[in-house]
C-alpha cells in the first residue's frame, strides 16, 4: 500500500484541483487522502514498540520499497526516527485540512492540491534512505510550499522563500555531492564516513541546508515573511510540521549518517563535539533572539513566527548537545512545538476568520466571545511558556538537564532566559487578543475549526500526565544510534541529576486548586460587565476615540532597550549580500551595451584572444 499511497496523493491532488469550484467536496477528498499516512503510522507502530489493536490499521503498508529509477535507486524504508516525525506530521495534517475546510474559500482546489503535494514530499522525506530519494522528495515538499506561498501574493515572502529555498537546496546538493565523492554511494545505510575536513564541510553544508528549513538564525529571514503572509492552515502545518523536517534531517545526518565519534575527531568541549557545541550555541542564540523579536511584534502572525523560530532553537540546542538526554529533549520539544504551534496558528486563523484582523492592537476581549478558541489557545500558550500544567515543560526540562549535565555554563542561562521571555510574548497574545476590552462583536469559531484545534490540544494534555510515552517512542531512535535511552516510567523521568514526577505535580496542583476553590467559593460574587471599570471613575462612552485596550506598543520600554540591537539585524546582513550580488549583476549587464559595434568587437576580440593564446603564446 506504500506505493499506492504516493499515487493516491498525486491522483488526489489532481482530483482536488479539478474540484476547484466545489471547495467542500475538495476538502473531503483531501482529508480522505490525508488519512493514509495516519494508517501507515498505525501499521508501523510495532517498529517503536507500540502494540496497537490490529483493527486500527485498516490497510497494510510495506516497510521497505526499493527499485531502480534510471541510474539511481529509490529506497524507501521506515525507521524509528521517521516514524516519530511521521507521527507529528500525519496527525497534524488531516486536522489542518479540516480547519481549512471552513477557512479557505478562494481557489480551494489549488490549496488542497498543494497541501497534498507538501505532505507527499514530507512522507517521502521521512521514508527516504538514500540521498537521491531524499533530495527529490525534499524539493517536492519545498516547491509545493512555494506554491502555497505564492497564494499570499507578498513580494518579500515569495522572494525570500525562493531565495532561501534555493540556498537550502543547493547547500544540500553540495553536501550530498561531497558525501558521494567521499563514500561513492548514495545509500545512507552504506555510507561509512571517514573523518576528513571535506566530509565535515559536507555535513556542515547539509546541516546548514536543513537549518534554513528549520529557520535557525541567521538563515531564518524567510520565515517571518512566509508565516505572516500565507493562509493560516498552511502556516500551522508549515510551522508545526514541515519546519520539523529540517531537524529530522539534522538528526538523520548528524547521528544516522555521521556519528558522534566522527565529530569528536575534531575535539570535544565538555564531552560535546565542537560541531555540536557550535550548533547548540547557534540554537541558544536563536532561542533568545527569536524570543526578543517575538516580544516586539504587533502582527499576530509575525509574533508567532518569531516564536516558532525561538522555540525551534531549543530543538537545535538538543541536537547540538547530542547526549541521549538532549536528543530526547529535542525530539520532545519538536513534538510539543508541533502541537502547540499548530493550535496557536489555527487559533489565530479562527480569530482572523471572525474578526478580519491580524494586528494584536486591533483585537481584544475575544476570550468571552470565543471561549473555546480561547481555552485551546490558552493551553497552547501554557505549553509554549512551558508551564508545568502542559507537556511543554517536560521537553524543556530534559534540555536543561542535558545542558547542566554537560556543564554548559553559558548556554543554559540563555536557554532559561529565553524561556522567561516566552512568558512575555505569550502574555501579549493572551492580553492583546483574548483579554482586555471587548472590541468585536463576534461569534465562536465554526465547529470544524474548533474540532481541529481541540484534537491538537489533546496530546499536550496526555503527554503532560504521561511524558514517559513520548520517551517510549524516542527510545528506539536512541538505540538505533547506539545510545542509552533515558530512564523513565510513564510519569517519572529520572536523570543523573534529578527526577521529575508529573503525577506528583498534577496531584499537588489539583489539591492546591481544590483548596483555593474552597477558599474562593466561600463567598458569593457578583459579575459586572466589562464597562464597569475603574478608569478615571468613568467608562468611556465613545469607543472611537477612547480605547481602554493597552495593547499597542505593549512592550515599549523593552523595545527602547533592545529594539536597536535586534530589529532587522539579520535582514540587513542578507540585504548587504544581495546588494553585493546586484553589484556584480550590474557589472554583467554592462557587458551587454546594446550596441552592435560593441558586440562585433567582442567577437573579434574573442577571436584574437583565442588565436593569440593558443597560437602565438
Amino acid at each position: 500500500m506504500l506505493m499506492e499511497t504516493f499515487y493516491a496523493f498525486i491522483i488526489g491532488s489532481l482530483v482536488v484541483l479539478a474540484l476547484n469550484r466545489f471547495p467542500r467536496i475538495a476538502a473531503v477528498v483531501a482529508i480522505a487522502v490525508s488519512l493514509l499516512p495516519l494508517f501507515a503510522l498505525i501499521y508501523w507502530a510495532p517498529l517503536v514498540g507500540l502494540t496497537l489493536p490490529s483493527y486500527l490499521s485498516l490497510l497494510r503498508f510495506e516497510t521497505e520499497i526499493s527499485y531502480a529509477l534510471g541510474p539511481g535507486t529509490i529506497l524507501l524504508q521506515i525507521t524509528p526516527l521517521g516514524w516519530f516525525f511521521l507521527f507529528l506530521l500525519a496527525t497534524t495534517f488531516p486536522l489542518v485540512l479540516l480547519f481549512a475546510s471552513s477557512f479557505v474559500r478562494d481557489n480551494a482546489g489549488g490549496f488542497y492540491a498543494s497541501m497534498l503535494l507538501t505532505m507527499l514530499g514530507s512522507f517521502g522525506v521521512l521514508l527516504a534512505r538514500d540521498m537521491l530519494t531524499f533530495f527529490i522528495f525534499w524539493e517536492i515538499m519545498s516547491w509545493s510550499i512555494l506554491a502555497l506561498v505564492l497564494r499570499g501574493h507578498d513580494r518579500r515572502a515569495i522572494v525570500s522563500y525562493l531565495a532561501f529555498g534555493s540556498l537550502s537546496a543547493m547547500l544540500l546538493l553540495f553536501g550530498f555531492m561531497i558525501l558521494y565523492y567521499k563514500t561513492g554511494t548514495f545509500l545512507f545505510g552504506e555510507m561509512a564516513l571517514e573523518a576528513t575536513p571535506l566530509t565535515l564541510a559536507g555535513i556542515s553544508m547539509i546541516v546548514a541546508g536543513f537549518a534554513v528549513k528549520g529557520a535557525l538564525m541567521p538563515l531564518h529571514v524567510w520565515a517571518p515573511h512566509v508565516y505572516s503572509r500565507s493562509e493560516e492552515p498552511f502556516v500551522a502545518f508549515l510551522s508545526g510540521g514541515l519546519s520539523k523536517l529540517g531537524y529530522f534531517g539534522m538528526i538523520l545526518f548528524m547521528y544516522g549518517v555521521a556519528t558522534v565519534p566522527f565529530f569528536a575527531t575534531w575535539g570535544t568541549f565538555r564531552g560535546v563535539p565542537y560541531f555540536g557545541y557550535a550548533l547548540a550555541v547557534i540554537g541558544a542564540f536563536t532561542a533568545f533572539a527569536g524570543t526578543v523579536l517575538a516580544i516586539m511584534q504587533d502582527d499576530l502572525r509575525k509574533l508567532l513566527a518569531y516564536s516558532s523560530i525561538g522555540q525551534l532553537g531549543y530543538v537545535a540546542i538538543g541536537i547540538g548537545i547530542g547526549t541521549p538526554l538532549a536528543l530526547t529533549g529535542a525530539l520532545f520539544q519538536a513534538l510539543n512545538h508541533t502541537f502547540f504551534k499548530a493550535v496557536l496558528f489555527l487559533a489565530a486563523g479562527a480569530v482572523y476568520y471572525r474578526t478580519g484582523r491580524w494586528k494584536i492592537s486591533e483585537l481584544g476581549g475575544l476570550g468571552y466571545k470565543m471561549p473555546f478558541t480561547f481555552l485551546a489557545a490558552l493551553f497552547a500558550i501554557f505549553a509554549l511558556a512551558s508551564i508545568p500544567i502542559t507537556s511543554g515543560f517536560a521537553a524543556k526540562w530534559l534540555l536543561y538537564e542535558a545542558a547542566i549535565e554537560q556543564g554548559f555554563l553559558f548556554v543554559t542561562p540563555i536557554m532559561l532566559i529565553a524561556g522567561v521571555g516566552a512568558f512575555l510574548y505569550a502574555y501579549k497574545i493572551l492580553y492583546g487578543v483574548f483579554l482586555g476590552e471587548p472590541r468585536h462583536d463576534v461569534r465562536e469559531a465554526p465547529l470544524s475549526q474548533l474540532v481541529a484545534m481541540w484534537i491538537l490540544v489533546l496530546p499536550l494534555v496526555v503527554f503532560l500526565v504521561f511524558p514517559g510515552w513520548v520517551l517510549d517512542i524516542t527510545s528506539p531512535i536512541l538505540q538505533e544510534y547506539g545510545m542509552q535511552p533515558v530512564a523513565h516510567t510513564p510519569y517519572v523521568i529520572t536523570t543523573n541529576l534529578a527526577a521529575y514526577n508529573t503525577i506528583a505535580v498534577i496531584l499537588a496542583l489539583i489539591g492546591t486548586l481544590f483548596l483555593a476553590l474552597i477558599l474562593y467559593k466561600w463567598k458569593p460574587q457578583k459579575v459586572v460587565p466589562h464597562e464597569d471599570n475603574y478608569l478615571a471613575g468613568e467608562p468611556p462612552e465613545n469607543y472611537e476615540y477612547i480605547s481602554m485596550h493597552a495593547a499597542s506598543n505593549y512592550y515599549e520600554p523593552f523595545e527602547d532597550v533592545f529594539g536597536g540591537i535586534f530589529r532587522k539585524g539579520a535582514e540587513r546582513g542578507w540585504e548587504i549580500v544581495l546588494a553585493g550580488a546586484e553589484f556584480l549583476s550590474n557589472g554583467a549587464r554592462r557587458i551587454y551595451t546594446g550596441l552592435t559595434e560593441d558586440y562585433s568587437i567582442y567577437i573579434l576580440l574573442f577571436f584574437l584572444v583565442l588565436v593569440g593564446w593558443w597560437l602565438l603564446w
Partner: protein, 318 residues
C-alpha cells in the same frame, strides 16, 4: 497505605496553611518595620491577618467573568504548589519529585494566572502593570538563573533537596567565595522578585493605581494578598535553600524531633532576616523606571553574574 496517603495529604495541607500563616505574619512585620524606619508607630504585627480576614468578609465581591476568577484560583494554588516543592527547614515533602527548574517554572503559574485575571478585567492600568511585572521578571531572572546554573554545575545537581543536603553541617554555599558573590547577586534579584523598592514600578499605586490589582477587591484581593504574602515566604525560602543550607543546623538522625523544631526555627529566623534586609532597602529607596530596572539587572547584576560564571568555569572541569 490509605493512612499513609491521608497522613501525607494532612502534612501537605498543614504545610500550606503554615506557609500562609507565616506569609500573613510577614505582611504585618513588613509594615511594622517600615513604620519604625519612618519613625512611625505602625500597625500591630498581626495586621496581615486582619486585612485578609476583612477582605474575605466583604459583603459584595465584584468579578468580571470567569477568566477574571481564574486569577485568584491560580495565584493561590500556584504559589502553594511552589511552596510544596521547596525543601523547608530540610523537610522535603515533594521537593524530591521535582527540581530547581520545576520550581522556577512553578513560580510562573501564579504569576501568569494572576496576569490572566488582571488582563481579563480590561483595565489598562492592570495591563500596564502586568507588562512592567513581566519585564521586571525578565530583568531579574537573568542574574538569578546565571547564579543558579553556576551552582548547579558546581554542585553537579539540579535538585534543590540535594543541594540543601550538600550544605548540611554548615557547609553553606555562602561560605564558598564565589557563591558569596552569588548570594549578593541573588539578593539583588530577590529585591525584584519581592517587588520591593526600588523595583516596585509594576504596582506603583500613585502612577498606575496599584497596577495589576486595580480591579480586584473583596475576596479576589484577599486571594491575591495571600498569594503575595506566600510569595515572600517562597522566595526567601528559595534564597535560604540556595545559600544558607535551608536552615538545617541539626541532623534529624541524631536529634530526632528536636532537630525538626530547631531547624524549623532557624529556617524561620533566616527567612525573616533575608526579608528584613529587603525591607531595609525598600524603606529608603525611591523606585526605578522599568527600563532602568532592566538596565540595572542586565548591566551590573548580570555582569557580576557573568564574572561568577567565568570563575566557576575556571574551577570546574568535567
Amino acid at each position: 497505605m490509605v493512612i499513609e496517603i491521608i497522613e501525607k495529604i494532612l502534612l501537605l495541607s498543614g504545610m500550606v496553611a503554615l506557609g500562609f500563616i507565616i506569609g500573613m505574619f510577614f505582611n504585618g512585620f513588613a509594615r511594622k518595620v517600615t513604620a519604625r524606619i519612618h519613625n512611625r508607630v505602625g500597625p500591630p504585627i498581626y495586621q496581615g491577618y486582619l486585612d485578609v480576614f476583612k477582605l474575605f468578609a466583604k459583603k459584595t465581591n465584584i468579578s468580571h467573568g470567569w477568566i477574571f476568577d481564574l486569577a485568584a484560583l491560580f495565584s493561590v494554588a500556584g504559589i502553594a504548589l511552589a511552596f510544596l516543592f521547596l525543601p523547608v527547614a530540610g523537610i522535603s515533602l515533594l521537593s524530591t519529585e521535582g527540581d530547581l527548574f520545576l520550581i522556577l517554572y512553578l513560580l510562573a503559574i501564579p504569576a501568569l494566572g494572576f496576569a490572566l485575571g488582571a488582563g481579563a478585567s480590561g483595565n489598562p492600568n492592570a495591563a500596564v502593570g502586568i507588562m512592567r511585572a513581566l519585564m521586571l521578571m525578565l530583568a531579574y531572572e537573568l542574574p538569578l538563573v546565571m547564579v543558579i546554573v553556576a551552582m548547579m554545575v558546581h554542585y553537579n545537581t539540579t535538585s534543590l533537596a540535594t543541594l540543601v543536603q550538600m550544605q548540611s553541617n554548615f557547609k553553606w554555599a555562602l561560605f564558598v567565595p564565589q557563591f558569596f558573590i552569588g548570594a549578593i547577586i541573588v539578593d539583588m534579584a530577590l529585591q525584584g522578585m519581592l517587588m520591593e523598592k526600588p523595583f516596585d514600578i509594576a504596582i506603583a499605586p500613585h502612577e498606575i493605581a496599584s497596577g495589576p490589582m486595580v480591579e480586584f477587591g473583596g475576596k479576589h484581593l484577599g486571594a491575591l494578598m495571600l498569594y503575595k504574602m506566600m510569595a515572600i515566604v517562597v522566595e526567601t525560602t528559595l534564597f535560604v535553600d540556595l545559600f544558607l543550607g535551608g536552615g538545617v543546623v541539626l541532623s534529624v538522625e541524631q536529634y530526632g524531633w528536636i532537630a525538626y523544631l530547631v531547624n524549623f526555627l532557624v529556617w524561620f529566623a533566616l527567612i525573616t532576616f533575608v526579608f528584613f534586609l529587603a525591607l531595609l532597602i525598600n524603606a529608603v529607596f525611591p523606585r526605578f523606571r522599568i527600563e532602568q530596572a532592566l538596565k540595572f539587572y542586565w548591566k551590573y547584576d548580570a555582569l557580576a553574574a557573568l564574572l561568577l560564571l567565568i570563575w566557576v568555569y575556571a574551577g570546574v572541569s568535567i
